[in-house]
Amino acid sequence: MYDGGKIIVGLVIGLCLLFSPFFFNAGKAAKAPQPVLTAKAKEAKKCVADTAYMRSSHMHLLDDWRQTVVRDGERYMTTSDGKVYYKSLQVTCLECHSNKTKFCDQCHNYLDVQPYCWDCHLVPKESK
Amino acid sequence: MLDRTLKGSQKYWGWLIFLLIMMGIGFLVYLYQFKVGLRITGMSRDVSWGLYISQLTYLVGIAAGGVMVVLPCYLHDYKAFARITVLGEGLAIASVLMCFLFVMVDLGQVTRMFNIILYPHPKSILFWDMIVLNVYLFLNILIGWNVVAAERKGIHYQKWVKVLIYISIPWAFSIHTVTAFLYAGLPGRHYWLTAIMAPRFLASAFCAGPAVLLLICLIVRKVTKFDPGIKQMRTLGGIIAYAFVLNIFFFLLEVFTAFYSQIPGDMHSLVYLFAGLDGYGKLVPWMWTFAVVSVVAIVLLVVPATRRKEDTLMVACIAVIIATWIDKGLGLIIGGFVPDPFGKVFEYWPTTPEILITLGVYATGFFILTVFFKMVVSIKEEVGA
């Protein structure tokens, strides 16, 4: 091929750059996230929805809350077992899960997810 | 056809590199604004729109100005303009793109920009402004590209392009009418609450746009082998003359209504702009410059001898651009917000970062304009137009 030498050299450099993260992190494995429940959370046993749903879709729930609370004025929800919750990330969720760095951030940091909720919604001060 | 933009003289590349540097500086300062917020600008709780929105308003006018070349050519068979309509379209493309950039740098939450499409609110004029500007951009890109491509191939452009051209004529009127509606429907801003806002905007657009176009034609004639034509430039001069006189006439009508009625709300903004209010008068020298330059422009444009001579016509165009820019790009927005709803004066002046970002956006527009014109003029040179 024309300029074969240049192409092959370029290809090798390109592939090296592409796979460089793997080279640099070879042999290391990031620890699986281990979110810690507070005493209050453990005592409550149940969240506003079951754990499997919360793990997979808590953002769906929060988006729905965002829509219904702010735009529709519906601030309360009843779960299937009759419990009434005030729909608020800051007031309800973080009341039990007040340890953001040991709970929320564990998975978020592992997956490099940066939710901007915290730009506005306040986080309770955590004790070390 | 874009390959024509990669071959150029030293001056061409020098100009592009200068523009790229300005764009780079503007971009870096914008990153700082994105991080810290709009507090680095001169805008305040009272004057909540400033240089960015005023430049957007001015440039929508420039974009609409291209229609002053297309309309006589297609509706009145003035075929002489046919060779320069594509220059008008290129000016429109660069201007509308600058408008979008100015909107983006002005938004407080620019990452949420698409909310205006995701949650459309047809009652809001901003929604319609977005639509008409996007369609106008789309029209000009399609028309401009196809006309130049056809010229390069030595054939007439396809019939469907003509349909788009006919649509673009009233559409150009609509973009600036909608932009005027942004201001003319707000009950609390008495400087803007006038039915004549849209006619004023159109008159100012139809002198400023062609004035910019004419200056570009003179530059093109100087640095390339393509000559837009003395006949075309003289006709443009006539159009600019009528439009500018109308623009100043409309402004004087506003002055009459405000001061003959003696209604405080109508007078206060004009008093602030031309005489100062409560001891604040940053814009007074600017507005009187506008008055003097307008007189110079009118004289040069109305007197046939000066309008027909190229060098005086060039001076007239520069005067028109300066006058319309001060009126629309400075006086209009600031005057609308001063005095505030409480009758108090809180002055606005752009900060250095704000000016640098503005220059960066202008540099981007000029870059697009230069590249597009390089392509168009190179092709015209090749086919011996």
Binding site: D64, R66, T68, V70, R71, G73, E74, R75, Y76, M77, T78, S88, Q90, V91, D119, C120, H121, L122 | V36, G37, L38, R39, T41, S44, R45, S48, W49, V103, D106, L107, G108, Q109, V110, R112, M113, N115, I116, L118, Y119, H121, K123, S124, I125, L126, F127, M130, L182, G185, L186, P187, G188, R189, P264, G336, F337, P341, F342, G343, K344, F346
Partner: protein, 263 residues
Amino acid sequence: MGVDRRQFLKIAGLSTLAGLGGKTAFELLAPGDVEAALPLMKAKRWAMVVDMRRLNEEAMKKLQKACHYAHNVPDFGDPKVEIKWIWAEEFKHAFPDHENEYVPEKVAHEKVLLLCNHCSNPPCCRVCPTGATWQREDGIVMMDWHRCIGCRFCMAGCPYGSRSFNWGDPRKAPKALNPDFPTNPEFPTRSKGVVEKCTFCDERLAKGLLPACVEAADKIGKDLLIFGDLADPDSNVRQALGKHFTIRRKPELGTSPNIYYIV
């Protein structure tokens, strides 16, 4: 035989659009939420009557403090970037069209309590391109800080100067002026780049509480701020309006403001 490049691109483009549109449509049709009946404050048209005869500047400062504390409104100490939901303004600036040289001394020098008028015909809602501010069924002109893009068209549209913009991050306001920030951990702050204003304490109304300013006013004196349902002919606001002459700010603009001032 077969599609050529142009046809292929057309088909691919249309299919992508259909796919994206379909997914969105599916999510939009998902079932909504369950609501419980609780002691909420409900009305058809919330309004407020301000007794200007008995409110002095000191009292107004306390009301501002109550509101700003309840909503984490920072004090920047700089009128250029200040954020205020409720504040005290000179009479001639609050009612510029009512001004005359012979206004009684007391009125000329005393301040007027200003806040968002929660107009029945609000220009700010008309101009908002995203619906980040809108008029609720109960008359409150509400803010959605998730949706606001910070275009500030509502600020240009408001004839009363009721709205403030977050020119910078509210959490970065000077610590010296905001030692206890955030003052209310149960209410969010806002981020930079969004417009904010009084929302008639909709979050407190949902809990059956009066707005923060009204609660604070009740501690100072009776009926300094009367907050109630304008649509209910027997409500406290209607009774007050029936008994006293009131004025509103710039009524000639057709906005139909719902803050009435007893003068």
